[in-house]
Symmetry: C3
């Protein structure tokens, strides 16, 4: 059980992310509440990836799939998406369904607006009255954290899984990115020592921020940041790399970087965060797209990733190349989320050791 | 089976609520269609509360939860919410899920507007074609009753559960309120002879109206109505109390009443029914809120209830007091709805007697 | 498995519907992708109707219903309804639920608009990442076909079921219409040699177009088309009948045709397709409605059908006549869709031969 009962809200929220970690963990080290990417260290990442691999394997047979559906058949989850996102919604839904969890949802603005008359704390208490877990997505930074503290200090604590909170955190996206890298290189020397290129809108994409952090849990991963000057990786990200002694480079030359890359992580321009409408459109981004020529210079064992949705950052001519990992990356999201949810309820061991 | 086939619509609808009762009942006395709070007499309330307690207990173990999920695993329910209400929706959904019922839903105005081309009778026939039960919420008074009659007289009768019809009826809310009172006092002398305070918008809150009625099924319950003059309990409610010889008082002094109360039922101002926008805001309601001072004078075994959502009728400083019953009241809604739905399908006895 | 991998998109899309058929079929002849009514020949129609009858029978007992829920309990389906239609949505949902399939959905414009930034191909790949089947409804003609080709040529092929694409195709509606005719006459000589009257908006109703085609798979079915001149059956439909040597008549006299009919298929005016708003309202349609007088002259074993929703094409006084088949027709939709989905996943034989 989380120990959030032992700390006041003001004290908790003023802690560093690393210091918050133990308050959110189960006794076995797995997260009880999943709020931010920084909760995962190398050991947890290895355990979750092993569990995701196991779940994927078990699910291949009908018998295995039915076993998985029995694991959490006694649990029900609420998907509370006050910021709509069908892709993330469906991925979490599918993860729940794989484990037999039945679900309820509030996913559109019209429905969730009814709750406006009451405080967010009261809404969350409502959901915790009816469900055993709350998977929430919100435009409001820090909300998931507040709700986790509130629930842990209520008479009916249930775990919170943060499925995206504002510009801030989207921890399961970070997990699926790492999982994709680990799977891509699992028979090939692993992630340690690899060169990872990030390209696109590195300023505002929270996926870049989270993945960059999690890669510091591996040894000797070199990070190359390729973007227009206006959208380069912000100082708080590189400050962490500096502090941890991680090698990185800032560049404007995608091709030169692709030639050295083991993985290329493309991202779209996040123009929904433009301070004035159309501001991003004025930035010259044509040199920050991955097409046939980049494909030609990428190593044979290199991989191309993208958190999706894409616009034109990756040409569709790349889609059937075996190194294009973005579709599998999306499906990996379902497996790693299933692993995380099963762990949240304490079923890591029984799945790892089941007879399937 | 309901005997609605033996009576024409015009004759049925002109009956008193009490006279309608037998037409809606199963052979075992439980409701087949659940349309209004007045269907429940003391004996039915006792049976439903016992069943809700049983379901709550069975659900504590994984084995028990899986047994419950098997009870109605062969049934499917339609949640038709043409008047959106996420709280009521989720509570009924959770109740269905506990019993293994799979569900479909129409819950937003945009989707349900498609049905506008056709008559409501045709829409309901559509739902009854695909599902085994219809849980409906509608802004239209009396609609659930009409639909129940229509379906009982069709070639595919299925039960209707009224989840709120206009200002009119919301029978499962009344059930959960009574259930909460019965649980609160079950080891402590029961509900008979208690003093219940109703406070807030007593004119327009249908929960007050229904609970006031159901309390007349108990012996010697005194009802104290505390509200601004403009929002006091209407004459048709007190007329019933007069007719049944139930003691009640009309008051403007919350504290004096709280001091005598076994239960305080707070309600919010229902300003959505204002005839002119903002009319309620002109009423002085500041003396009709429950805060620290009221808490201090409430009996040690007293309980505070609220149908939720609340605004500021109850101060959040009361939330962790053991006498604050409103969160448990909400969860009670799920249990009593599960009891009602199981009974509708004739599973009262098998759940009461199961081995869990 | 579909052989869409062996043919390019341009070549495939230029084929006739009949020539496309084998590319969409499973090895056992059943559809893998279900895209258009012309995929079904007499033999497939007989197999699907037999399976639908079997499923309907098995579902009568609790044990049978639970068996059915186990058949596809390891599968999950996505209902992607970018053109909302609650009736069609609920029918497909119910069919999935009968077979134990868990579902996810995108069904309103607001939610699906998020996908606008990405190509439809990418959206469909997203759904195929998380689900085992995609049931899609779209205002865009031909979209389901394109998506079926795309998915069959991806690394994760999943079947597509077209639940309506523009004015174009709605194959499961055609199936349920044929199934209703087959059931109506199954103890009474069958569909061969019957006289079927189509009445209403024959120009724009895609159900008429599809059913007219499928009836050519039976011997000696005479088709009578009754409509205002402006809404008469279009030449491409009668061209098929001419080519196949099927007897048909064009008429403006409903009563004369009803007197000869074994089945009367009524349709509503599809004014949503009016080129100028209100154009349909100017057409005199009062002679194209079915009421008490038509009922009086319909044969005792005749049947009245309607794809629903209806407006006033059929008077409600007909609703309880045993020849009114439109409610059962709607429920037939659920059974035949369940049969189709079970067949898509290769479970025709195991259901036909199960012990229930």
């Amino acid at each position: 059980m989380a120990k959030l009962t032992e700390i006041g809200w003001n004290e908790f929220t003023s802690l560093s992310l690393e210091a918050k970690r133990p308050y959110l963990a189960r006794q076995d080290g797995m997260p009880y509440h999943t709020l931010f990417a920084q909760q995962f260290d190398r050991s947890l990442l290895e355990r979750l990836c092993a569990l995701a691999n196991r779940i994927r394997f078990i699910n291949k047979s009908k018998e295995g799939a039915l076993y998985l559906k029995s694991v959490l058949a006694h649990k029900r989850a609420m998907l509370y998406f006050s910021q709509p996102s069908s892709r993330t919604f469906l991925s979490h839904l599918a993860a729940c369904q794989l484990l037999g969890i039945t679900t309820g949802s509030v996913r559109d603005a019209a429905t969730s607006s009814e709750f406006k008359g009451e405080s967010k704390e009261d809404s969350i208490r409502t959901f915790s009255s009816y469900f055993d877990m709350i998977i929430m997505r919100s435009p409001e930074q820090g909300l998931a954290e507040k709700m986790a503290w509130e629930l842990s200090n209520s008479s009916r604590p249930v775990p919170i899984l943060n499925a995206g909170s504002g510009k801030d955190q989207h921890p399961t996206q970070a997990l699926l990115d790492v999982y994709t890298l680990m799977r891509s290189f699992e028979n090939n020397g692993g992630v340690d020592g690899r060169t990872v290129v990030f390209c696109g809108d590195l300023l505002r994409g929270r996926t870049v921020r989270s993945l960059s952090y999690l890669l510091t849990e591996f040894s000797g991963v070199r990070q190359l940041f390729v973007a227009p000057d206006e959208l380069q990786v912000p100082p708080d990200v590189t400050a962490i790399l500096d502090r941890k002694g991680v090698a990185y480079e800032i560049s404007g030359d995608l091709r030169a970087c692709v030639a050295r890359a083991d993985a290329v992580y493309m991202t779209r321009i996040q123009d929904e965060w433009d301070s004035s409408k159309g501001a991003s459109a004025k930035i010259d981004t044509h040199r920050f797209k991955f097409g046939a020529e980049e494909l030609a210079i990428l190593k044979p064992e290199g991989v191309i990733m993208h958190p999706l949705p894409r616009r034109d950052e990756i040409a569709t001519c790349c889609d059937r190349d075996p190194r294009a990992m973005y579709w599998r990356q999306m499906r990996n999201g379902m497996w790693i989320r299933a692993a995380l949810i099963a762990s949240t309820f304490g079923f890591e061991e029984s799945i790892m050791n089941c007879g399937y």
